[in-house]
């Protein structure tokens, strides 16, 4: 009887617990707190946070419970991440809920989304300089795209062992957009620039909105075919939305599909952060470079907006450049908040959505380009 009790005790989490599991459980609880109490990306941070709790329950190896054990339920769910299934489905939902009107009304703002992607490549160089392999460096650089699904997709293809830290870093920084971006935006712009008012956008017809996803898909995927899974689903989702006749499918894509996949993605990514796998010096480097990538992307967007103003007759508010990092729609909201601090009657949100959405397209192209270079 004593032996049975002892065996049972040796299989409990209390006995198998490691200090790294405790740290990760605390981080998971912090994520849940930030999501619920501070309302920082709750739809992502709460599933990831709880996933961290699930992944860091110490289990006896061989029982088929851990996410890295090939016969476990979590492992099967995690296949959606490692095989790159979930990110395109999330893009389908994003496409079905995004209105491209502001982008179509003023396409020049799309260049801000391109400029912000420079952060990806600068961080890629930084990661190489710090000793990461090219595959790892590309996966770390994509954090600057501020697009969780894209980061996960590329990492799953190039450096699957880093999915945990990269996904957590990407989503953490996305949640921290309201903290990270404003100081950089204020530092790089003068008050006069922040007060610039944008022209009223022209009205966009339904036919333009229907044609856009088709043209965008064909053009971008002919240029960077590796962006096909992400851009294809994004544009398809948008076509479902704009076509009106496929409203049922669009509703499914923007509600049940994206919600289900977000839950599975969040929980499995969280669960992949097992203390012994996650808490390494590499993870520290990834977090440092991820933050750097985010800052550089924001700065590149703002500086490029100022550069464009040298040539444009109708000036654009350089704060919009910060929305070029994807993080839809948080970075656009930050632009609105920072702009309204200077002038409460200046509404930039609608205009910021244009670079914000082009940032999504830009980061998907960048991911495709990096993937094709590394393959």
């Amino acid at each position: 009887m004593e032996t049975l009790f002892l065996d049972f005790f040796q299989n409990t989490g209390f006995f198998l617990c490691d200090y790294r599991n405790i740290i990760m459980i605390l981080v998971g609880m912090l994520f849940i707190y930030l999501g619920i109490a501070k309302d920082y990306e709750p739809l992502l941070l709460v599933p990831i946070g709880f996933g961290m709790l699930m992944g860091n329950i110490p289990v006896f190896k061989g029982l088929g419970l851990g996410i890295y054990e090939s016969n476990s339920v979590l492992h099967y769910l995690y296949l959606g991440v490692t095989q790159g299934v979930y990110p395109p489905l999330i893009f389908l939902g994003i496409g079905a809920m995004t209105d491209f009107s502001t982008l179509l009304a003023r396409p020049v703002l799309m260049l801000l989304g391109a400029a912000a992607q420079a952060g990806i490549f600068i961080t890629f160089l930084g990661a190489l300089a710090l000793g990461f392999t090219p595959h790892e460096a590309a996966s770390i650089g994509i954090i600057g795209g501020a697009d969780g699904p894209t980061a996960i997709f590329l990492t799953a293809k190039l450096a699957p062992t880093l999915i945990g830290p990269i996904a957590v870093a990407a989503y953490s920084y996305m949640a921290l957009v309201p903290v990270i971006q404003p100081p950089i935006m204020r530092f790089l712009t003068s008050r006069k620039e922040r007060l610039i008012r944008m022209e009223e956008p022209r009205e966009v017809t339904k036919r333009e909105k229907i044609l856009f996803p088709i043209i965008a898909f064909l053009l971008c995927c002919f240029l960077a075919p590796a962006a096909l899974p992400l851009l294809g689903m994004l544009c398809f989702g948008n076509l479902l939305k704009e076509a009106v006749v496929t409203e049922r499918l669009a509703v499914a894509a923007r509600t049940s599909i994206i919600d289900s996949v977000t839950i599975l993605l969040g929980v499995t990514v969280g669960a992949s952060t097992q203390g012994d796998v996650f808490l390494t010096t590499k993870s520290v480097g990834i977090f440092f470079l991820g933050a750097l990538s985010f800052c550089i992307a924001t700065a590149c967007g703002v500086i490029f907006a100022k550069f464009m103003n040298l040539f444009l007759k109708s000036k654009i508010n350089p704060l919009l450049g910060a929305a070029g990092v994807s993080a839809v729609p948080d970075s656009a909201r930050v632009v609105q908040v920072v702009g309204q601090r200077e002038d409460p009657t200046n509404f930039l949100l609608m205009h910021a959505m244009a670079p914000n959405i082009s940032g999504v397209i830009g980061s998907a192209i960048a991911a495709g380009v990096l993937w094709s270079f590394m393959s």
Binding site: L103, L104, P107, V108, M110, L111, G113, A114, A115, Q117, A118, I120, F121, I122, F124, L125, L128, A129, L130, G131, T133, P134, A137, V204, T205, R207, E208, L211, F212, I215, A216, L219, C220, L223, A224, S358, I361, G362, I365, A366, V369, L370, F373
Partner: protein
């Protein structure tokens, strides 16, 4: 391997420059093409006007075999005086009304001849304008 040496060995500089260029090119092409969508759609919507314009130019090339008698010329001169009192382009209905209350002879038939001769031409938006060249050719 660390630092600039690692970047150079892994072809980092080239990948970054080409990568940024591709992203920029892609979004710039997309930006250019979508900035033209509404213009192309406008052109498509007005494709019938373009055909009419083509027909009109072809019709212009055909010689008009119209003979203006002295009475017809006098009638054309009277219509010109009436048109001068109107806006440009003018309403055909108003011109006809003015011709009737001014007591011009056979205003419908005269007006029809002026249109056939191209002295009065439609602007394809429901109004008409006076063609001086055609007037000089037939009625002066």
């Amino acid at each position: 391997m660390y630092g600039l040496e690692a970047i150079a060995t892994n072809n980092g500089w080239a990948i970054s420059v080409v990568g940024v260029s591709i992203v920029f090119t892609g979004l710039m092409l997309l930006s250019l093409s979508i900035s033209r969508i509404h213009k192309i759609l406008d052109l498509w919507d007005n494709r019938n006007d373009i055909r009419i314009f083509r027909k009109k130019t072809q019709e212009k090339k055909e010689p008009v075999l119209l003979v203006f008698t002295e009475n017809n010329k006098e009638s054309a001169r009277q219509f010109r005086l009436l048109i001068k009192t109107m806006d440009d382009p003018f309403s055909l209905q108003c011109l006809l009304y003015l011709a009737q209350i001014s007591g011009l002879e056979r205003p419908h038939s005269s007006l029809c001849r002026l249109i056939k001769a191209g002295i009065i031409e439609p602007d394809h938006q429901g109004k008409y304008f006076f063609n001086r060249e055609a007037f000089k050719k037939f009625a002066s």
